[in-house]
């Protein structure tokens, strides 16, 4: 029944068969989901954050449930870029050769971001990069880069210098003026921006007087943050000309449509993968049905179609 809807979108030269990506850190490297869903239905897989050396992450507990949301302080635990290439990327290349892979890149310093990309440039099976300048869970680097225009621009410029592949910069919502930061990274040659990463939050156990996360603070995700995310996508989409990838609390097709209307060219699904591991394909189906029911022929026509 959805044959009539053109679900393809284009993100900085990368053409995707569906306007839906996985949100970094919530989908592993896709392997764990391959038993549960057909990965070919996704627009692209965005991998967990990859750093130059292995990172240990933060002490446990690393998550806490909150009203309509969750806090996490994973801290970008990962086995490093070398292990990523040998294990995760190799698996994706052999088992999901049709699915574009966007690697989420982390670093403590500008040089580390660049070093990760330099290593990944050797791998032919990569469709693009998402540079994470917005992780609230690491001390050096992480969110710090994403909270000022100058440092966001600096990371973007350096990464741009290392690759001609589509370069997406992932923005932090923990700022006064996200549109300003988006404009700064656009000026340095980013092909797209993705937003939002998690809102910095905290929860305290009133029984023990201790923070629920061992690290104290962590990142808030899930439906609780959706109104903030939609607002920021709307602000950024009006400020830049490059595509915006919207995320934050998407649980249903209607949520995804809301982000598209606000100005997103594609959306990403994060926390919902934990609640329902089939969320991504369910949402893609629902988006197609939504368009079909309203006679919308191209899903891309929804982008920025809010009447305001």
């Amino acid at each position: 029944m959805n044959v009539n809807v053109d679900m393809s979108v284009n993100i900085g030269g990368l053409s995707l068969r569906a306007p839906l990506l996985t949100a970094s850190g919530t989908f592993g490297s896709a392997r764990e989901f391959s038993e549960l869903i057909d990965l070919n239905r996704l627009g692209a897989v965005v991998t967990k954050g990859v750093s130059l050396e292995p990172w240990e992450g933060n002490p446990a507990p690393r998550i806490a449930e909150t009203s309509s949301g969750m806090l996490n302080s994973i801290g970008l635990q990962n086995a490093g870029v070398e292990s990523f290439c040998v294990n995760d990327l190799a698996w994706l290349e052999s088992e999901a050769p049709q699915v574009p892979v966007i690697v989420n890149v982390s670093g403590h310093t500008v040089e580390e971001y660049v070093a990760v990309i330099d290593r990944l440039e050797w791998e032919p099976f990569i469709a693009g990069y998402e540079v994470n300048i917005s992780c609230p869970n690491v001390d050096a680097g992480g969110m710090a880069f994403g909270t000022s225009c100058a440092s966001a621009a600096e990371v973007t410029r350096a990464c741009r210098g290392s690759t001609e592949r589509p370069l997406i910069v992932k923005l932090s919502p923990n700022v006064t003026d996200i549109a300003g930061i988006a404009t700064a990274v656009e000026a340095e040659g980013a092909d797209a921006v993705s937003l939002i990463n998690t809102l910095l939050g905290m929860a305290i156990d009133v029984g023990t007087f201790r923070p629920k996360l061992a690290r104290g603070v962590g990142g808030l995700s899930g439906p609780a943050i959706k109104p903030v995310a939609v607002r920021m996508v709307w602000q950024v989409a009006r400020a830049v000309t490059i595509p915006v990838i919207g995320m934050g609390g998407i649980m249903t097709a209607e949520d995804a449509i809301e982000f598209m209307l606000a100005g997103a060219t594609a959306v990403a699904v994060g926390t919902a993968n934990f609640v329902d591991p089939t969320s991504t394909v369910r949402i893609v189906d629902g988006m197609a049905e939504f368009c079909h029911a309203r006679g919308i022929e191209r899903v891309a026509d929804l982008t920025g179609a809010v009447l305001a």
């Binding site: 764990e32 949301g69 969750m70």
Partner: protein, 276 residues
């Protein structure tokens, strides 16, 4: 070589719609819920778990992990303690209620071919993942002895099952209202020291498991423990459930929840279950 990972061949995971067929209180604050869930019930191995969606709205989002107490004839039995919102809602579910679960998940108990006599040590709701194990061991002709403890007789769970399949069941209650007065670790310590076991399996509050592990190590018997961690995904992607092991951080949801005790770095093990 120690890998601290899962050596098992684990059955494929599915997302299954399940229906409550019975749900009753079986001890103070503890319920036993039975689900019709043909696919998972067929495949699940002792010590594995399921990730159950109890919440319907998005007030609380996450699934809740539960061990399987028994699996037979297309049905799963879960023993649960009411501790918070999710388990409170679970306790209210009436027969006919539909939910969904992801499973079978994780790596369950290893049963070595050489095992002849296993000691199962259960503290409080520790019986939950040991029920299926006890039945499986008995079926394979392996002798089973159980040491079980609880704060009081009112809160002992699993006794019927254990008495049906085990050759011996020793009970300890903190208040002496049933069996020996004191912690199960006291009873268990003596039993392990007596000898005769070639495998120890334990589940319960983490400090208890740690003591049992030490007792087993002393007696040079291989010991497996089942650890609880806060879990978001349950399938290995979110890294919320890490356990520190001799080979680094491992995910309780896929590399565990069952680990060889000797692989666990207990010092940093985070205890979320002191209550039980």
């Amino acid at each position: 070589m120690t890998t601290c990972g899962c050596a098992h061949h684990t059955p494929p995971r599915v997302l299954e719609n399940v229906t409550v067929v019975a749900n009753d209180r079986v001890a103070q604050g503890v319920g036993l819920v039975t689900f019709d869930s043909p696919r998972i019930a067929r495949d699940i191995q002792p010590g594995q778990f399921v990730h159950l969606r109890i919440a319907q709205g998005v007030d609380y989002l996450l699934r809740r992990p539960f061990s399987i107490y028994r699996a037979h004839a297309g049905r799963l039995e879960i023993l649960y303690q009411v501790v918070g919102r999710g388990t409170r809602d679970l306790a209210l579910a009436t027969p006919g209620t539909e939910m969904d679960m992801v499973g079978p998940l994780g790596c369950g108990w290893r049963i070595a071919d050489s095992t002849t006599h296993a000691l199962l040590v259960s503290g409080g709701l520790g019986a939950a993942p040991l029920g299926m194990l006890a039945e499986e061991l008995a079926e394979r002709g392996i002798a089973v002895t159980v040491a079980m403890g609880a704060p009081c007789g009112e809160r002992l769970v699993g006794r019927d099952l254990f008495e049906r399949v085990a050759r011996r069941v020793e009970i300890a209650t903190d208040d002496g209202s049933c069996g020996t007065a004191g912690f199960v670790t006291g009873v268990c310590g003596e039993m392990v020291a007596e000898g005769g076991y070639d495998a120890v399996y334990t589940c319960g509050p983490e400090p208890m498991q740690r003591i049992v592990a030490a007792q087993a190590a002393e007696a040079e018997v291989a010991c497996q423990v089942s650890l609880e961690r806060l879990m978001a995904c349950g399938i290995g992607v979110c890294l919320s459930c890490v356990v520190e092991t001799k080979c680094g951080l491992r995910r309780a949801c896929v590399d565990g929840p069952v680990f060889y005790a000797k692989e666990v770095v207990w010092d940093s093990a985070h205890d979320v279950t002191c209550e039980r």
